[in-house]
Homo-oligomer: 364 residues x 2
């Protein structure tokens, strides 16, 4: 608890340094993920409406009366303000901003009507959309965050193992998901990182297949994409398995995807650009004749959000840094046939990639 | 499948009638829930980036290359447009809008930067934020939707039963959640409607307590709030139970909350305003001396979103209609002590309230 408080204090201080450098007098956090990050408290994600950070004073957390007891229980170093009305909770935020001498106010995310409301209420202030200030901070994980992410990855490993064990002809896709999710919950997951995918047969050719009540059949390819939320952080893991003995074509695609992934895992170092990493995988798949069927990007950062910076995609200029945590997930999707994806969660470090997920990959 | 297609066609037609009435030439749906509703397809919630509806032509669905196979598989009566770039998918939407003669364009929800992008790209068009056009349509459920919601409620009943069975001293909160969620998944749930709450002991006094690794103790109050997602629709159900024999004070609060709920359930008819229904519950709790501890609103509509119109809150002017589905969930939260909430999902009909959740309420 104490260390979390220190962590929150340090993050707020870092943000204030950035704000001062950039000439901002205040920063309005409306993103639950950013609020979680700055308070170092996962329940705050749900319980806080907004957070106002300024170099001049302690941060202010805005919360409903309903959630105020929980917030008080979690956060000690911040001022708490209870929302006056649930009809428009931003009334209270705007009032407090009016008391501030802040001219230039940054914000992370607002819907159009919320932005409009603030601009009207505070017509003399300048609001600037600057989400990158926090996403840059968040993409570099400290050791404590890496430990949490490792724990989340371990839970996903357990979920995947239970799901794979459930795979057999006659079982429904969602029944496979049920076993995986149950195993994760029993290991302490706060929930799923995202909707589990168990995409079988033809459906494995849909990268975001989700689950249906389709029953697995002999010969099916089954893509299982599963992840846990733990202490507010996420994991993301995919394996592809076959019901019964795979065909030569299934094996050929599977091997190509494995090879693309292992090439990247060998060479994932700080300093590389997102597009360069994406290109490594694409090159292997091209040599194998499958690059036209790799129809998504190679990976994404994972942390307080399951999709965050840095991006590993064909046009990404993000530069990998020590402390990034990313997925490496090449896939090949043969239209009207089947698909294979293999995904691991990896920490980028100076001494090379550190695999966080450890589920085995069957060798064919 | 065919009936879903008809349903989608009818909803789009209804929207177009509204648009014509209000003088809109096009409507941009960016809300995944609205896209699901208009396409009558739950997977489209995830797989479509946006949808453009106009009285002049067939609707256009925008989707990434990655998800296009899934979308083609789901939707037949609409035009499909594959996003040119994932960097800014709205480029493709704006281009298509440029071909449109539409002057006045309504939209449901856009973040500030997305709105800004469209306004700059299409500076001669008038964009209007009109979310209520669809939320009004969505709050009145047809018979098929009521059946889906009933199925989702039945799954929540099964989840609650399994969770309550797991309640005993020594068990962790998240282990109780694990059993409830597993039971729901086995019954065909697509996932949880929201983060399950298992809030025990002092934590039961937090309305949004979530789950922790706290172990239940003899004498604890345990609030269990659970819901399923099924076919893209949601359920929402809360029961409060006690570990061992409750104290006279626990029983007193429990009875007061039950009484408040049953009073409302007797008198929930079309024509009432949201605030009137909220006041019914508040009146009972005031007679029992607990109204100061009822720190949230009485209920909310449930459907494609787990929180939607109509609202049952102190200031809600929403008028109940035949076909609404709402939660009725009074609660009393005694600070630094314990809390009790009881919640059911109810369809509002001309012939009176129809309970969708059927979990029993223990009588003390």
């Amino acid at each position: 608890m104490r260390s979390l408080r220190n962590k929150s204090r340090r993050r707020v201080a870092d943000l204030n340094i950035e704000l001062t450098k950039l000439g901002f007098h205040a920063y309005l956090c409306a993103s639950p993920s950013n609020i979680q990050y700055l308070t170092a408290s996962s329940p705050l994600r749900r319980a806080a409406h907004a957070m106002l950070v300024t170099p001049e004073a302690r941060p202010i957390l805005f919360t409903s009366l309903m959630d105020s007891a929980l917030v008080k229980n979690e956060v000690k170093d911040m001022d708490l303000e209870i929302l006056r009305t649930s009809e428009n909770p931003d009334e209270s935020v705007a009032e407090r901003l009016q008391d501030f001498p802040a001219e230039k106010i940054g914000f992370d995310e607002l819907s159009f009507p919320r932005f409009q409301f603030f601009r009207k209420k505070l017509s003399k202030r300048k609001f600037e959309h600057r989400p990158e200030i926090l996403s840059r901070m968040r993409q570099v994980k400290d050791e404590a965050e890496l430990e949490i992410l490792k724990a989340a990855a371990k839970i996903a490993d357990a979920g995947l193992e239970a799901a794979v064990e459930a795979v057999k002809a006659g079982v429904k896709e969602y029944e496979v998901a049920a076993e995986g999710e149950y195993a994760m919950r029993k290991k302490g997951a706060e929930g799923c990182a995202f909707d589990t995918t168990v995409a079988s047969g033809l459906r494995s050719s849909f990268p975001h297949g989700g689950c249906t009540d389709r029953r697995l059949r002999e010969g099916d390819t089954v893509v299982i994409d599963i992840g846990a939320r733990f202490a507010g952080y996420h994991s993301d893991l995919t394996r592809t398995v076959f019901v019964g003995k795979p065909s030569p074509r299934q094996i050929k695609v599977y091997r190509a995807v494995c090879k693309a992934q292992s090439e990247v895992l060998k060479r994932l170092f700080p300093g590389l650009k997102g597009w360069e990493v994406d290109a490594m995988a694409r090159k292997v798949l091209s040599e194998e004749g499958f690059d036209a069927y790799f129809i998504h990007s190679l990976g994404h950062g994972v942390g307080v959000d399951v999709h965050e910076a840095p991006r590993l995609s064909a046009r990404s200029q993000d530069v990998l840094q020590h402390g990034n945590v990313v997925t490496v997930e090449p896939g090949v999707y043969l239209p009207r046939s089947f698909g294979v994806r293999i995904e691991d969660l990896v920490a980028v470090t100076r001494s090379g990639p550190r695999l966080l997920t450890e589920s085995q990959k069957r060798v064919y």
